[in-house]
């Protein structure tokens, strides 16, 4: 079974705390914005130069001067601000962002992340990913547990070119929630209907399996 992409996003949304400035990457991370818990104060930053992203515009109200880093049309939240890219990345580099959520191709036991380049394949570039992973103290990776070939994306070492080193703190996949610890990937929660053997089978890196592993509540 396992979680859908929306369920992964929903689980990550549980990590949001009031007062957080959050940067969401493209893909599953973008979906997190749909599941912000009621009553908490949060602001989404996009590295192209906005703090306080609101909902997508109503049809007909799209503004070409208002987009997010995924180039989608957006609207500003009340209290939003626009700024240039040096300030935007200053927010990131200066550790003013409280939570960064991004996708990955691979994560290593040490928390290394690879998400920008597959050798021999077309390279589109790292965009802001290297700045984000080099700067954030609180990085959650949202990804499927395996790649389309069925190979584990949680590895002893990344095989793909790195985006950043020793930076990922937590991983939410379709199968489990795992923390990166000194000893390896620590299973914190498992998806409903997914047993430990399945997580073991699809995890190439070292796993730490506590006695009790609660189910992910989404």
């Amino acid at each position: 079974m396992g979680l859908t992409k929306n369920q992964i996003a929903k689980r990550i949304a549980q990590e949001l705390q009031s007062g957080y400035y959050v940067n969401l990457g493209i893909g599953i991370p973008t979906l997190v914005a749909n599941y912000v818990p009621e009553g908490i104060e949060i602001a989404f930053q996009s590295e192209n130069g906005i703090l306080g992203i609101g909902p997508f515009p109503m049809p007909g109200e799209e503004d070409p001067d208002l987009i997010n880093a995924g180039k989608q049309t957006i609207t500003p939240q009340l209290g939003a601000s626009y700024f240039d890219s040096s300030i935007s990345f200053g927010m990131i580099r200066g550790k003013h962002i409280d939570l960064t959520v991004l996708g990955a191709m691979e994560v290593s036991e040490q928390g290394d992340i690879a998400n920008w380049k597959i050798p021999e394949k077309l390279v589109k570039g790292m965009g802001g990913a290297m700045d984000l992973v080099a700067s954030s103290d609180n990085i959650i990776v949202a990804m499927m547990h395996t790649n389309p070939k069925g190979e584990s994306k949680l590895r002893t070492e990344c095989t793909l070119p790195l985006t950043g080193v020793r930076c990922v703190k937590r991983i939410v996949t379709d199968l489990a929630v795992l923390d990166v610890t000194k000893e390896g990937f620590l299973i914190k929660e498992r998806a409903k209907g997914v047993d430990i053997e399945e997580i073991k089978r699809f995890t190439q890196g070292k796993l730490i399996i506590p006695d009790e592993i609660p189910e992910i509540q989404v």
């Binding site: 909902p55 049309t73 700024f83 990345f89 790292m126 802001g128 290297m130 080099a134 790195l162």
Partner: protein
């Protein structure tokens, strides 16, 4: 105050030559100097080195320069969404240097502000760090990155006055302010050019000192790359 107004895009581009390095503002299709790009694509000049966050799409934005085979080298950060660019890259017709986006922004600002080099954490432990000086500050590793050197900056603002003062709009600001004054010559095109003195001095994003030439653009298309709306 010092007048920077020119009347035509051709006057604005005077002195541009094949082989020059150009900074181009914009993020994807947002906040791009449409008139300047159009004129460059139609010009006889070529072999440019372009510094810009993205590569545009096939038939718009920076894509027009790739379509017209004007670019020899591209320094950017995210260059997807453009098939002709990809073809030229795979065929090794153009050289491509990929840079973390925050580093690209700061390298532009450094050029603008007379900072020759600075340290940044982005790219440590990756292939971006290859050949670069690495130094530890407070237990964390950083790369030494250099300011860009460039001949022309081509930027787009929302409003501007005849003295070159600029105001940007929304996320169309992006790299534009950082590229002003970061090259030998900075050219700004604006949607609305107003007389000097019309803008509130407190609300100017880029002071005219960073702009050498300003003109009112025309035929703004302002194309949207990923139109996204609420489910209703």
């Amino acid at each position: 105050m010092i007048r920077k107004k020119v009347d035509t895009v051709h006057e604005a581009l005077e002195g541009i030559q094949s082989g020059m390095t150009l900074m181009l503002g914009g993020f994807g299709l947002c906040g791009i100097p449409e008139n300047l790009i159009r004129a460059l694509a139609e010009s006889s000049h070529k072999d440019f080195c372009c510094i810009s966050a993205n590569a545009g799409v096939d038939d718009f934005g920076l894509g027009l320069l790739f379509g017209a085979q004007k670019v020899k080298k591209m320094i950017g950060s995210y260059v997807g969404e453009n098939e002709e660019f990809e073809r030229q890259m795979l065929a090794k017709e153009i050289e491509v240097i990929l840079t973390p986006m925050g580093t690209l922004a700061e390298k532009c600002r450094a050029a603008q502000m007379g900072i020759p080099a600075f340290f940044t954490p982005a790219g440590y432990g990756t292939e971006v760090a290859e050949g670069k000086e690495i130094r530890k500050f407070n237990g964390k590793n950083y790369l030494l990155e250099m300011a860009y050197a460039s001949d022309f900056s081509l930027v787009k603002a929302w409003k501007g006055d005849e003295s070159g003062n600029l105001i940007f709009r929304g996320t169309a600001r992006n790299f534009n302010p950082l590229m002003c004054g970061a090259s030998t010559i900075t050219v700004a095109e604006v949607e609305e050019l107003v007389p000097t003195g019309s803008l509130d001095p407190n609300q100017i994003h880029t002071p005219g000192i960073f702009v050498d030439r300003i003109f009112q653009g025309s035929r703004y298309e302002k194309r949207i790359e990923r139109r996204t709306v609420q489910n209703t």
